[in-house]
Symmetry: D2
Subunit: 360 residues, 4 copies
């Protein structure tokens, strides 16, 4: 193994933080050398800090267990201990924004799962298979803010992962999309821990997730937008999202009706486009890039969360039920693992992309 | 209590049949005097026939417990024992069609839950709040078939109950609907017993229910159609339905995006229309008619199946989350109890309507 | 309806408090005229105070909806508004103890669901079918504390309801019990709201409930004890309890292995004893007394929580699977509704008993 | 990789059969070269035969996908295609018994998951960590039946795996056990597919599994028995088992109260014995042997099925909640993966043991 980059995890004790710690175990490029959390946890070993709150099925990785948790506000310490950070801080958006900026200003690249900077004009929001080219916005960001090594890059919301990549694939193939109406069935882990009460979710589904429909409608526009003149010009696809919570542990599912803007491919063409799809992370053979990026299941009753969420180690998108739509043009179902592809895993893939592109 | 009509339940041992038996307990107009099932069950008492398969939370009604189960194919026996029948036979469509016709030909009115006759031209398919006027098709039916007292009337599929009535209310108020895209989250009881395996539904949702999307797209057109010249002219609303099975015991939920054909009401107007809505079953004070017919919940996270399915004794439609749609005009969530409003309860209400209108 | 006793509910906004409010709707003897909660809720109407937190399937009763919530610490106000209180306060045990005593000292009888006073020597802990005679301890309590109208009486933990009554029935019939080993499978509503996370309970069971095994082992001894010389002499039955949380909404189940102390009844005798069992609440025809008090199901796979919890309006104990034990003498399964019989409903039945016995 | 033994899987299309196929993928000693099922499936490729019924999260292994399914009754074909078979046939016990004997008589060793031969006097029933020495019964078996290469060896029921090994460890350490009362909470996959209906298991637990308590009480006696004079002398531990089905996908849990026969270890001693425990499969470094064989979790609320079932790749037993029992001596909770350790995985480990001991 080559000399790995020393990385830190901010908000390391929460559910997303734990996912970073677990997914980075044995990573070929990155090595967790630092974990930070709120002052309350600072000073304890990581094992102590998460005691009784470790939610992953595997045990805490040996290499992280005994790391002493730092205070996430203490940037100097982070600078000593690591070369870049993954941010999974759960705080007020303002606090997160300022803190992430402070890290970047201190020459520490920040790859973030938090929504605080998703609308910041010079911060790229990246799904590596879709808009890897937006990484170039970092040059603008550094110039404007006077950062040299520091940077902030964010990943979009977990709810959109299962439909943005297939849409992108169609657009790339010459079939621009005009509008989609999407209904999501989202797993409880998407709400962190403890998340929804079992009293609510046993024999129950909830047709509402706070602020989720807004994110699901707006963020794809930016991800599918184009970088022009140093800024992102949003896509003008029209999106309507209905977001539901369902009693599933992991795996967000989306039922999509889609209308094309101009040319309309046949069902066979759509299938072929998805099956052929491959993108920059696959070409670069990034360690976390799923190959294939998207899997189409022929069975009439797939994808299903428990059966398909772990495809491509939780990084692949699984599609199914492609058929004509009675109102729009086509319909399909998409599924992605919300705490892997939709959170820590997606951020790690983005960090791999930025590393491959020389941003740190 | 007045002299009640003696009714029979065909297919009385299955899940829908059991629901008839339980919902007709203490009914002011109808009295279950006959139960019939397959030859296998014939000759046993009802209690013996359902032993180990009684799925209702309440015990078997005393009055039905000791009835001797008849063979559903034995129409003469039914004629002796009852004046009309509720059909919940689970057989091949062809078999059901012929059997229901034989009952009707023998002067026994048939109110059916089965899908066999839903597309038969002279058989009315009725949601009493929506198309009670289609009952007049029975006159055509009797004339054409030479039936005097007999008749066949059917109820539509459980999946459409939560969105057809609110659409109808809007159309009645002067806002014709052009198109809807609807995604349903349907309870496991909709599949009868045993229905989906727990191995599939624990930590799982299934984006597919056999033949359900077809029913959900086609049946509303007939229910919302108009009776003209002795036949139903279907509505031309465009409907696209995505049907999902979710781990919920009872209660089908629907996420609806709706586009109006011409005039577009404001959100406030829609709300008012739904709150003011009342229809023939309410005006006639039919015993099973929920008052109000539709309930709008203001909370952002309602309706929810377990919390709202029993509204109006399982006969009311609960609505919520009305808001503008980013692609169409409005969006909302509807919920109805699939084994009450969507099955036995809906059929009983229809029978009450037919009785009130003098059809038996 | 006779002049009903005006009652207050302390802790009315929590889950148990809500259950009191719902179960007391249309009660023939009691009328909720007062609701109290923490200072935070005081001054709001009840409907405002529980907005977004009303967890019952039925709507808030009309008669309570607009009551102004009082501060539970303000005893003078309570005295104006009601004649006795049901306590469902969720606070530190010390706080609860002192507050309940202050109410009683102010001439307000307190019937409590809280565990604070369950070990207090002069406070009776009552399951009305089992130890109604312990009500006489109130005379001692009043004498010792100088209370005239005031009193405190408590109900035991929800986890023990399904096995204490059948044990009592056996002892009454001349078959004293020596030891039981019991494993409970308890519903999530037993933990209040929000209670266990859905992330924990979907595809999961938890072999631990804080402090539950202690209560399940100790409280039955007092309930099954005898009142002698002004105090309770505990039963000396040996009890070992394993308490598990399972993904069930309502209904605690218990698997019991039981050893008799002396004479051993046959299986048939045990069955007969349980079927014949009736007690003081049934004799007094108390409004909430289930008749029968215990139901034995012959099916091999019953009781089951969803199917049996509502027996006797949630107040009956359902038993099943009586068979010889390979290690002890007999084995059986018991089930009771934890938020009705095991909480508010059990307390209401106890209040009815105290009323019938003239304690207020 | 050395020359691997060519193995067949009988009943390869069922749930246990699929687990064999998946767990044997990349096995260092065994290679699946043959799959057989009922005549109905014979002639299809394995992929065709399980189409729409493949229940494993991973795809069908490439090496098995295109194998042509044989008729399990055709022993000659099996003889051509493989050197030993794993039996997961789901048929009448008599049919299974005869068929397994026919394979053995044809020189094909049979390692079986089926219960048909569990009580056959000369067939060893083995948990490799506990009674590996019973393998010697095969010598008796071969002598009596005149088999040279053939043999039948079976694994016991999935329900007992989590308590037999810890009991054995205590007995080995000098603390013979007199009696246990055990209550199991068992996963739905234990019933195969489809198994219990979701209508039953959502918001439900079932206090009954057909024939499971008998197996759970009798089989441990044989596994813990000693081989003497060519036959197994059963252990005389007294066992009472209450078996429940709970809404969990995989992982059987057991709540155990245990009484020692003579000396009583301290809690600390028990802990130490379990932590130190290692046995023949670990000493032989068998490929599927978990190291450690048993894991003790210190957290008060563990083991839990979803969190702990995959420990040791599903082959380790996870223990927790060791504490004194109020009636017996100690109490604890055990958990094991029912479809891995309790079924296919346990059988594979046994086959490894038999191979290592030279039985084929």
């Amino acid at each position: 193994m080559m000399n790995r980059i020393r990385v830190g995890v901010l908000g390391a004790t929460g559910m997303v933080g734990q996912n970073y710690v677990r997914l980075l175990k044995d990573h070929p490029w990155f090595e967790v050398t630092y974990v930070a959390a709120s002052p309350r946890s600072a000073g304890k070993t990581y094992a102590e800090a998460v005691q009784g709150r470790w939610l992953m099925p595997e045990p805490i990785p040996q290499a992280v267990k005994d790391l002493v948790v730092g205070d996430a506000n203490d940037i100097e310490q982070a600078k000593d201990k690591c070369q870049m950070v993954f941010s999974a801080i759960e705080e007020d958006k303002d606090v997160v924004r300022r803190l992430e900026e402070a890290y970047a200003a201190a020459d520490i690249p920040v790859v973030s799962n938090n929504s605080a900077h998703r609308a910041t004009e010079d911060v790229p929001m990246i799904i590596p298979e879709v808009n890897w080219e937006h990484a170039a916005l970092i040059d603008v960001q550094r110039r404007q803010r006077g950062w040299r090594r520091g940077l902030i890059a964010v990943k979009p919301n977990c709810s959109i992962q299962s439909y943005v990549t297939p849409i992108y694939a169609l657009q790339q193939a010459g079939f621009p999309v005009d509008a989609i109406i999407v209904t999501t069935l989202q797993a409880v882990s998407g709400a962190g821990f403890p998340g929804p009460a079992s009293f609510t979710m046993i024999d129950g589904v909830v047709p509402y997730i706070k602020a989720e429909e807004e994110k699901s409608e707006i963020e794809p526009l930016r991800v599918l937008g184009r970088l022009e003149g140093g800024r992102i010009i949003n896509s003008d696809i029209k999106i309507s999202a209905h977001c539901n919570r369902v009693p599933v542990i992991d795996g967000h599912m989306a039922c999509v009706s889609l209308r094309f803007a101009k040319a309309r491919p046949t069902i066979e063409q759509v299938l072929q486009i998805w099956k052929d799809f491959s993108s920059e992370p696959q070409r670069l053979r990034l360690p976390s890039a799923p190959i294939p990026a998207m899997i189409y299941r022929d069975e009439p009753d797939r994808p299903q969360p428990r059966m398909d969420r772990d495809a491509g180690k939780g990084m692949a998108i699984t599609l199914g039920r492609l058929r004509p739509c009675k109102v729009f043009d086509i319909r399909f179902v998409g599924l992605s693992h919300n705490t892997i592809r939709g959170a820590a895993g997606g951020a790690i893939l983005m960090a791999e992309l930025l590393k491959a592109k020389g941003y740190f």
